[in-house]
């Protein structure tokens, strides 16, 4: 028995030696190998989702699943406030809306083909729109199905589709272009071999580790510069930053505010934050079934008590937008004319006294579901204590906040967030009937001016008496080497048009 450790020791020593020599060769080949001959390869790291990552982006719960899908399957378009239609088109040539807002005509680009050589037709487009419902996609993929009557859709010709709406809506272009991708008719399973028509094709896929994408030579767009993209799954934010610093990645997504401040000062690295409308709203909901919150004055007092600038400065180090208690900052219908809510603890104290809830107790529940959520909640608790509220923080571990959704909805005061989405289509009715009515008008009135007026009026009501505090809008923060350019900040980073400068 006594020679067991000895043998183990020898084995270990040999392995260490192999490790060191392996490292030396690995270093020299990896730094040179990615160079000019092989063409430009971008290595981009995302948080990923471990082994739950999937090519089926309807059920893939992580940002990486959608980032990957958007590189493989062509998008209908993207939300783009600078364009006359509010969207820029991808595989679609145009979306025309009937005057009564009850039907949409979608027209595909001419002569686009899938990787198996077959042309992209109206049948494929229709399947793509129905697939989220038919394949039981996650709720966020089913926005289009909620607003359009997909069962009654009709093909007008090879590349034109007529789509009736469920109720008259004017914001259908935004819904269609927010996250819809085109897949081939009949696709129900997703493998690396599944025909696609996006800028890249899948060469290899290992869930939770790496996806190798290679340029699609037959892609219809002309803004693809890379030959390969390696999507790396690195779950830990610190490990992602380490990969960027050590040259193992050229681009990393989801950088913490603290690391962002540090990386911005590092030579050779660039930090970029998403811009509105591609920001998540961090909200704190005051439950109207909790007695004190039934009083409008208490809700206003809570909103006035929050020092929003301090949150932007100390939690996000400046990389966030101040919120005004109204959602969907940056979308065309967002009312920029509303007065910015001030920070007024004295007025807040007076309102609480007036309402007879001076010194009330409240527990705020939050968890690390969005960058800075817990830190912001901590500051809000401090702010509330400053106006005499006996506030406390219930901090949950990651993944717990929404785990029991019914219990979550019963919390008196809870943090939450919504990813970037237009206000009207994502409005949940049932809290304020007058707001619900205005939102319905804002989606369906025939005249654009009426829609805008109704939307602004609804936002005005929410600003005045709503039960949400939206102190900040939070962007996704990415960092990359200075050689990388052309990253587009959409709902998630779009890497299709990235360029890599040679060293």
């Amino acid at each position: 028995m006594s020679n067991l450790p000895r043998r183990a020791f020898l084995g270990f020593g040999a392995l260490t030696a192999a490790g060191v020599s392996g490292l030396l060769t690995a270093c020299s080949s990896s730094s040179d190998g990615g160079g000019d001959d092989a063409g430009a390869t971008l290595r981009a790291a995302f948080a990923g989702g471990g082994s739950s990552e999937t090519l089926n982006y309807f059920v893939g719960p992580t940002a990486l699943d959608f980032v990957r899908a958007r590189l493989v399957h062509a998008p209908l378009g993207a939300i783009d406030a600078g364009q006359p239609d509010g969207v820029s088109y991808g595989i679609l040539e145009s979306i025309e809306i009937s005057d009564d807002l009850t039907s949409y005509i979608l027209r595909l680009r001419d002569s686009v083909t899938f990787t198996d050589g077959s042309p992209v037709t109206a049948s494929d487009l229709l399947h793509s729109l129905r697939a989220p419902d038919e394949l039981e996609g996650l709720p966020f993929t089913r926005l289009v199905g909620r607003s359009f009557d997909l069962a009654s859709a009709r093909k007008l010709d090879r590349r034109t589709l007529r789509l009736p709406t469920a109720q008259p809506i004017a914001d259908g272009r935004l819904l269609l272009c927010q996250s819809m991708l085109v897949i081939k008719d009949g696709t129900t399973e997703f493998t690396p071999k599944t025909p696609s028509c996006g800028p890249f094709v899948i060469e290899a896929f290992e869930p939770g580790q790496q996806t190798v994408l290679r340029r699609n030579p037959d892609y219809f767009g002309d803004d693809v510069n890379l030959d390969e993209i390696h999507l790396l799954s690195i779950g830990d934010a610190e490990a992602r930053v380490n990969a960027l610093r050590e040259g193992q990645a050229d681009f990393v997504s989801g950088v913490s505010p603290f690391n962002a401040r540090d990386l911005a000062k590092t030579r050779g690295l660039t930090v970029r934050a998403g811009e509105p409308p591609y920001v998540s709203n961090l909200r704190f909901e005051m439950n109207l079934s909790h007695a004190p919150f039934k009083d409008e004055r208490v809700r206003r007092a809570f909103r006035l008590a929050v020092d929003r600038q301090a949150i932007v400065d100390t939690v996000y180090f400046g990389r966030a937008e101040i919120g005004n208690d109204v959602p969907a900052l940056g979308f065309p219908s967002y009312d920029t004319g509303l007065e910015q809510r001030s920070y007024d603890p004295d007025e807040a104290k007076a309102l609480l006294r007036e309402a007879g809830h001076e010194g009330m107790s409240i527990e705020l529940t939050a968890g690390p579901e969005l960058t800075g959520m817990v830190e912001t909640a901590t500051l809000i608790v401090e702010n509330l204590r400053a106006i005499g509220v006996k506030a406390s923080l219930n901090e949950l571990p990651a993944g717990q906040l929404f785990a029991d959704y019914e219990a979550y909805q019963r919390l008196p005061f809870a943090a939450g967030y919504n990813p970037s989405a237009p206000f009207e289509a994502n409005h949940t009715p049932g809290t304020f009937p007058d707001v619900d009515k205005l939102v319905a008008t804002a989606r369906s009135a025939p005249a654009e001016s009426d829609r805008e007026a109704a939307s602004h009026k609804a936002q005005g009501l929410l600003w005045e008496k709503g039960n949400e505090i939206i102190p900040v809008f939070v962007p996704t923060v990415d960092a990359h080497t200075d050689k990388v350019s052309g990253v587009r900040s959409l709902q998630f980073p779009d890497l299709s048009a990235v360029e890599l400068a040679s060293a």
Binding site: M1, S2, P5, A8, F9, G11, F12, L15, T16, A18, G19, V20, G22, L23, A26, C27, G50, S51, S52, E53, T54, N56, V59, P61, D65, E136, L138, P139, A204, E206, P207, G208, Q209, Q210, T211, V212, I234, G235, D236, E238, A239, R240, N242, A243, R245, E246, Q248, G399, Q400, F402, A403, D404, Y405, A407, Y408, G416, Y417, A421, N426, T428
Partner: protein
Amino acid sequence: MIRFGLTRGVTAAAMMLLLSAVLFFSTEALPGDAAGVVAGADATESERAEIRKRLGLDEPAVARYVTWLGDALTGDLGRSSAAGRPVAEVLASRFGNSVVLVGLAVAGIAVLATTFGLVAGLRAGRLGDRLLSSMTVTLIALPEFLLATGLVVALAHQGGMFPAVSIFPPGDSPWQHPDMLVLPVTGLVLGGLGVATRLVRAAVVSVAESPAIEQARLDGESGVRLAWSYVLPAAAAPGIQGLAVMAAGLLGGSLVVETLFNYPGVGSELARAVTYRDAAMVQGLGLALAGSALLILFVGDLLAGLLNVRSRPASWRRAERGAP
């Protein structure tokens, strides 16, 4: 010896059954379910109900336990509720990685802990022992994430010697990239070395005072020969049991190291599954980890039993006594 093995085997199997029930019903008892996490904040009530039904969460728990156990015996561990991947497939890809990582780390710990433990134990109370003891206490006191972060700073950031995170090309196993194994293995070794060294040292100290070693000393044995041929064989049994406990714990418990170095092991996968209420994954991975932990402990017990003079069959003892 055979009876000893059989008793231990039956105990392990009963233990396994008990663990499977504890595992299943404790994941059931958690508030909330995957439907709440998967659906997202903007889902409607009917969409939530539909997801719950699709994941089979509307059946009674006991019925699901029996079905699950039956399927597990045939190798079917169900599907992840996150994206529908078979749990067995995830297990197959992740478990091997963890075995490589933990195997190397335990080998490293065994060698270093034996060396340091012998040196310290045979010089108990002297300068060398005190130095080694301070070192081991320091290692035990340092949290794992601090050790791992220190490694990254020293060997990746400053030296640029080893890659800071493990990135394996699709289809490759960790074996093919030894450079990426260095930091995670070193992290685990440093994390476990303190406890293991103290364990070996304690065994060596008690053995060194025994009449047999005293006799060997009087016979003129000393130094390395005394340590290797007399002290180590006598102290090996508790040492092996200690290592077995450590290896069983590290297999699913190397979470900090796996996370910080992005090593694709089973621990980080388990943590993800717990976070996202992926019950099938938690149960499947948990069952596999519990099974292998029991197996390692079982083998450790058998080896220690073989080494322990007192538990050896009488015929062996007679044979030994008969030897010159």
